[in-house]
Amino acid sequence: MSNSLSQSLAAPGGMLRRSAIERASIWIGDRGTLIAGIALSVFVLGFSLVGGLLYHASPYAVHGHHALQPPSAAFPFGTDQIGRNELARLISGGYATLIVSIPAAILTFMLGIVYGLAAALGPSWFDKVLMRLLDAILALPTLVVLIFFAALVPLNDFSLVVLLGVTSWPGLARLVRNEAIAQRGRDFVLATRQFGGGTWYVARVHILRVMAPILVVNATFLIGDSVLALSALSFLGLGVQPPHTSWGGLLQTGLNLIALNPWWMILPSGAMIFLAIMAANLLGQGLLARFGAAR
């Protein structure tokens, strides 16, 4: 008997091969998304983190005679109202944006998982308390809470990371909790409990492992959200503070001078925010399809 069963599995064109073909076809279909996401991520990261090493112009030097100039050979992205090099400012603004957004996303990620798992795996009264609290917190838009605290604390890289981190986790926490609850009741978890698997073991070996794809995908989305939130704050003047610059801040400067039609101050900074978020979203979408196919 064992022979016939294993034969049907190993035979050419058996079940194994079909699923391999199915996977491949799905993978090819979504490979475009994933590749675009990776390429765009490399570009955004390279531009912001490595760009400063390749392009040596100072983002702070004032070129008084060249104030508010459109793009030219000397200043590829033009200059701002007091004659600072916009390209250099775009690079340094990218650095400032990512250096806060990415650690903040990691903080959010950890807080969300801890809160969500605590609710899902703790006693049921604890879950009820945490979820009621979460419902109320979720009624407050993250940006509004951010504005509230940003008005009160001194703003620097560290405080911004903490601020973004501790205000953005509720969405992920709810997702983790709901997903973990769904996994918790599945038969394979019940079976493990029957063998004597404890809560911690179940969380580590089963729930987190099954949720891993969702978590990875959401981690990439979180980076996009974090870039957006920081840019929005900076745009409102409540994020990265002068003389440091950021993409959101550059856009705000452009908006303040909008009557003069300074398109070169508006389009590049806005486009960089767009590309950074797009990179994260494409990467997430691509990974989602990839994991979905592998399921």
């Binding site: 064992s2 294993s6 079940m15 009820k128 029957q194």
Partner: protein, 638 residues
């Protein structure tokens, strides 16, 4: 008899992904006569549903149909879309599996029925509503006037299927296609639905094409039987001829695989159904056939007959059902010495379950209402015995299993090998729980999709402190061997397994802790009949070797009778009958047990079957089960 429907070499190919269409169904010839029922039988993957959707041309985009579909005088494959729409619902009524999802959840049933009538007759809303009311009455829904404006979720499963049938009947079609209408329903309810269809087709002289995977359920009702295997017809003819003398080895094995009351050994078919992409060139059953010859594997056999059914088998004339039984039925291994003593004692067990609070104040604080799911259950189970627990859905049988497994809180006592769980300390309790294992209904749900099979099977070993993956996998390989699987599966993931294989993995894992009791919670109800037979035989062998005790939870009293030494019948959370299997099945005392037994497949004397027809068309139990159903409706919709 005039033919309502004739399929003439119907073939269907479906597009899968980007490739070219894959043939799913090949050259099926079939007729349905007015007032008669033709049963189209096949296991999952045989192409039977594709056939029904091909007839009404509701196949997915990119499907290719060849051959002719003759409805009366019209060839449906030649109609344009608008003409085809006029046939659907007017000339052909459809009844689908799982009526809860097949009915629109947000539309009142009366409107759903009236819609089809209005569409094809152009009658007024008022007339359509009157028609819907008549139809609900005709299909046996009590107080139809009160139920007309109810939503599908307010009906019980059987009543919902009656609503579906009413909808299909609205325009008095010539042909009714019922695609697995009884799957997922309790046996008693399924029998009622069949009886209803039989009555309706006679009264309306309507042809019925009944599509099912379950041969036993159509035995008393079908006029014609047509068996499909892997997209081809293997045997067809008059039902009486088929059940008296099936000729194709597949039909014979399929009939022998159905558990019937009083059976000692089930026929099992080795191997798996081939995928549409990898079907063998010759006879499609050949790779799994015990009688195959070289010629079988190269060319498809021409249909042949000896006067009874028509069969597509080279050796169909010579093979008898007895040959098949000898060839594919393994004899059970000798029974090991049974250990004496009590494995499990359940004493006045009761379980409450919670549901969303009905009162406002309780809702605020998140309190739940309590309802009793099980009441006053007592029984004992000896070492090496199998206890069958039977009941309809909602009877509390799974809850009983979970209570014994210590998965849910309960009142009363559960004593395992002389020690009560209530009296155990934490650590002791954990060790004792490990020795009561479980196999669930859905094999895929019970395996973590992201773990390798080796790790899944070895997980209990890891949790009981055996370190080193290599060492654990060696033991896992031995466990796989016991359930008839190859150790080559160790590094694979569960995603690529068939249902039967996955269920074997779950059994191997349950065996790892050397348990005293295994709770089998509907272990075969998501599997095909032939796979079920393999699995039941395996479980029986394992018990014989080890002196294992089972608690087999099932809605199928025949499957239970095949396995069990003792039978417990649950109804509405109470134990209505308990005793040795032989006694309970031969001399049931409780009315409910009698009904269950009456509805199950039997070995009937051939002579008695000749009287098929009017007499047993509306069996006695029908009225009584209607009461069960109304009770159920109340229970679910307070």
């Amino acid at each position: 008899m005039s033919a309502v429907l004739t399929l003439d070499n119907l073939s269907v190919a479906l597009k899968r992904g980007r490739g070219k269409p894959v043939p799913i169904l090949d050259d099926v010839n079939l007729t349905v006569a007015a007032g008669e029922m033709t049963a189209l039988v096949g296991e999952s993957g045989s192409g039977k549903t594709v056939a029904s959707l091909g007839i009404i041309r509701l196949l997915p985009r990119g499907a290719k149909i060849a051959g002719r579909v003759q409805l009366g005088d019209t060839d449906l494959t030649r109609l344009n879309d608008a003409e085809m729409r006029r046939v659907r619902g007017r000339d052909i009524g459809m009844v689908f599996q799982n009526p809860l999802s097949a009915l629109n959840p947000t539309t009142r049933v009366g409107n759903q029925i009236a819609e089809v009538y209005r569409l094809h007759t152009g009658e007024s809303d008022r007339a359509a509503r009157a028609r819907a009311l008549d139809l609900l009455g005709e299909v046996g829904i009590p107080n139809p006037a009160d139920r007309l404006d109810d939503y599908p979720h307010q009906f019980s499963g059987g009543m919902r299927q009656r609503v579906m049938i009413a909808m299909a009947l609205a325009c008095s079609p010539k042909l009714l296609i019922a695609d697995e209408p009884t799957t997922g329903l309790d046996l008693l309810v399924a029998r009622q639905i069949l009886a209803l269809l039989t009555r309706l087709r006679r009264e309306h002289r309507m042809g019925v094409l009944f599509i099912t995977h379950d041969l036993s359920i159509v035995e008393e009702h079908a006029d014609q039987v047509h068996v499909l295997y892997a997209g081809r017809s293997v045997e067809w003819g008059r039902a009486r001829d088929f059940f008296d003398q099936p000729r194709h080895p597949y039909s014979q094995a399929l009939l022998g695989a159905i558990p019937r009351l009083g059976q000692t050994r089930l026929t099992s078919i080795q191997g798996n159904l081939p995928d549409p992409e990898t079907r063998p060139p010759g006879c499609r059953f050949a790779p799994r056939c015990a009688f195959r010859e070289a010629a079988c594997e190269t060319a498809y056999p021409a249909p042949d007959t000896t006067g009874g059914t028509v069969f597509a088998c080279r050796r169909g004339r010579e093979i008898t059902q007895a040959d098949t039984l000898d060839a594919v039925t393994e004899s059970p291994p000798p029974r090991a010495r049974t250990v004496d003593g009590t494995a499990l004692k359940v004493d006045r067990l009761a379980v409450d379950y919670e549901r969303t609070a009905t009162s406002f104040l309780r809702g605020i604080v998140g309190r739940k209402d309590r309802l009793r799911a099980l009441e006053d259950i007592s029984f004992t189970l000896k070492h090496g015995e199998c206890l069958g627990i039977v009941g309809q859905s909602g009877s509390g049988k799974s809850t009983l299993g979970r209570a014994v497994l210590q998965m849910i809180p309960y009142h009363g006592g559960v004593v395992f090998e002389g020690e009560s769980f209530g009296a155990m300390k934490h650590r002791r309790r954990r060790l004792a729980r490990r020795r009561i294992q479980v196999v669930f209904q859905d094999p895929r749900e019970s395996l973590n999709p992201r773990m390798r099979i080796g790790d899944i099977v070895a997980e209990p070993l890891k949790l009981s402190g055996i370190s080193g993956q290599r060492k654990r996998w060696t033991q896992a390989a031995a466990l796989l061997d016991r359930v008839g699987l190859s150790e080559r599966m160790l590094p694979m993931f569960p995603g690529s397994l068939s249902g039967g294989q996955a269920q074997r993995i779950a059994i191997a894992r349950a065996l790892a802790t050397n348990p005293g009791i295994i709770v089998l919670d509907e272990p075969t109800s998501s599997l095909d009949v032939s796979t079920q037979a393999l699995l039941l035989n395996l479980l029986k062998d394992l018990a014989c070797q080890d002196g294992l005790s089972y608690m087999l939870i099932s809605h199928d009293i025949a499957a239970v009778s095949y396995m069990a030494d003792k039978v417990a019948v649950l109804n509405g959370g109470r134990l209505v009958e308990f005793g040795p299997a032989g006694d309970v099945l031969a001399h049931p005392r409780n009315d409910y047990t009698k009904e269950l037994i009456a509805a199950s497949p039997h070995f009937r004397p051939r002579a008695a079957q000749g009287g098929r027809g009017g007499a047993d068309e509306m069996p006695v139990y029908a009225t009584r089960t209607a009461q069960h159903e109304t009770a159920q409706t109340k229970e679910y919709n307070p």
